[in-house]
Symmetry: C2
DNA sequence: CCGGCGTCTGTGAGCGTTCACAGTAGAGAA
DNA sequence: TTCTCTACTGTGAACGCTCACAGACGCCGG
């Protein structure tokens, strides 16, 4: 039973205790804690030993008070709750970002802005400086929160290119157009010629690009775009189901559908099977995202994989860089065709 | 252009600025901020006006430094990531807790412990006092994290009764047994007699209780329990599908299945339909949870609603009470039968 | 021997808040 | 009047850390 142990038993050890234990000053301990520059190897060693011995953990509040940073970041989702409940992509992204941040020892604050009230509260919270930066996920266009945060100068990285925010905000996105092209080429290579499309929301760059990829490949193949084959969706399962029904009604002779999200593709599958069309024999279905939903259905979806791990890692990297003073950046990541049973 | 405005333009206003603006002392401002006891109405008024005028927001780090509280809580999910990706119940709970906490102005830190490494890191983070308490979601038994946290004296509230932690940890749960009984009675009332069951994990109280409810009602109705009608599951969709197949193989004459989770019920539906059984004509299917999954399938699931909103609210209430010094508590909430198309 | 430089270390100040305490004023009781 | 009690207010002193600064030491070139 040592003095140092008995003495400060009840309350956690401070940097002061570590300094005393290691026989150095607070300043030296602090320097070791923050990168260890200008510290002799001997002191370095002694401090680390003292930290282990005392079980010291830095008091983040004291640190933040003086640095002005909170060393935490917000994950902001501005989607209606139904979307959050039905689309597992959010979970994948959430997990990826949590993991990426954990390796930097930065906690993630979850902010769900489903209602106007929450939106306001969250905006206030963020602009008050309670987080150093924000990872933004919002599939819909013209997000007022994003605009406010940008104006307030809060470091911000969006998932997917945001609409109408100019080049001022960073984003990380998959190569939507390229992915769409791959899928449509794949459908073509299977001999499909009457290829319908259920688009994403066309007020978002992602939705527009995926449709553009579809049209581009068909044109290159010398197939004229039939507007009856193009029906709008909003990424929700219900809109996929409705889209497929509309497609079936407008163009009963389709032999394939390119669906701009896996969740919508689930709906498409449901509608197709209800209409007695076999997948993939009668109609091939290609999705987009490679969300967990893709393998939860039967037949398992052929889809375009968005590299979620890389997307989350890049979002975190770009955000931390921006917090460190760097300029906003846009990162486009390649996609990959995943062949399964629906084509 | 007033002096007070021009002076402190760059950096946010402090409690001191507010005090000067209002013509009172820091202490008085602080008292207003924390409930306003022992403050004259006039001072109260002046301080509030000054806060509005200066746009003051409390510096949480300074506050935490002295109070020793972090005024934030952790939401800890100790599930493999596949479970997190496929089960929308987590999202519902996450949203409920976020919302409940927001009304207390307490941020939620998301902690996903999928791997052993993360488990360790998170435990260290929590026991270091970086959060005041933890909302725990972990469907599997014998969770080492929970045990460690309990031993460290961290305020903890679990969702669902945790296995083997004794009465020492708070939890909020729906009345599993009662819900199961309602469902089986409902099945009985529809004239079903050969009722199979796909159970939840039987190393958790929830799984055990739901099965117990099933057996209890059948016994009361004078129907002998046929063990061929009881197959195990683990709440995952895949286990539901496998369970239904096994049921079909062991007891082809079933006319109903009580499934211990909606997600498994999705799998059951898939297997049943693949086997050519019509739902609900040939076989009725009853789920449990009323998860978003229940209405995403066809036919829409008859299920037992867990009152998620109340569950999250209670979890937060109990946790905050416990942080405030109260004793651990157990809350059991009533369920409700939701009749849809699968029975 | 001096001066300068680069490496390393200790020290005081201060970040913005809360808390304990001391103190004031006014009302009511003795 | 004087004393006590209650309602309210102001004032240091922390909380645990980082940062700027000053100083010590060894080494080099003049």
């Amino acid at each position: 039973m040592t003095m140092s142990n008995t003495g400060g038993r009840r309350r956690p050890p401070t940097i002061h205790d570590v300094a005393r234990e290691a026989g150095v000053s607070r300043g030296t301990v602090s320097r070791v804690l923050n990168g260890g520059h200008y510290v002799s190897p001997a002191a370095q060693e002694a401090v680390n030993a003292a930290i282990r011995k005392t079980g010291y953990v830095v008091n983040r509040h004291a640190r933040s008070l003086i640095t002005g940073r909170s060393d935490s970041i917000g994950f902001l989702l501005t989607e209606p709750q139904e979307r959050f409940f039905e689309d597992p992509n959010f979970n994948v992204l959430l997990r990826g970002c949590t993991q990426a941040l954990a390796s930097h020892d930065v906690p993630l604050l979850l902010m769900l802005a489903g209602t106007e009230d929450e939106r306001r509260r969250i905006t206030r919270y963020i602009t008050a400086g309670h987080v150093d930066g924000v990872l933004l996920v919002s599939s819909h266009s013209g997000d007022p929160v994003a605009e406010e945060l940008r104006e307030a100068g809060v470091p911000l990285v969006a998932c997917g290119k945001p609409m109408g925010l100019g080049a001022k905000v960073s984003y990380v996105a998959a190569d939507d157009r390229d992915g769409a092209k791959d899928m449509v080429r794949h459908l073509l290579s299977q001999g499909r010629r009457r290829i319908g499309v259920v688009t994403g929301p066309l007020d978002t760059p992602g939705g527009v690009e995926r449709l553009a990829g579809y049209k581009e490949v068909l044109s290159e193949a010398g197939i004229e775009i039939d507007e009856k084959l193009v029906v709008p969706g909003d990424y929700s399962r219900a809109s996929g189901e409705a889209g497929a029904e509309r497609l079936l009604a407008q163009a009963a002779d389709i032999d394939a559908v390119f669906v701009a999200s896996d969740l919508m593709a689930q709906g498409v599958l449901t509608a197709l099977q209800r209409a007695g069309r076999r997948v993939p024999e009668d109609v091939a279905v290609g999705g987009f995202d490679d969300s967990p939903a893709a393998t939860a259905v039967s037949p398992a979806l052929t889809t375009i994989r968005q590299p979620w791990d890389r997307i989350s890692n890049e979002m975190v990297r770009v955000l931390l860089a921006q917090i460190g003073g760097e300029d906003p950046a846009a990162v486009i990541l390649p996609t990959e065709l995943v062949k399964r049973d629906s084509t």
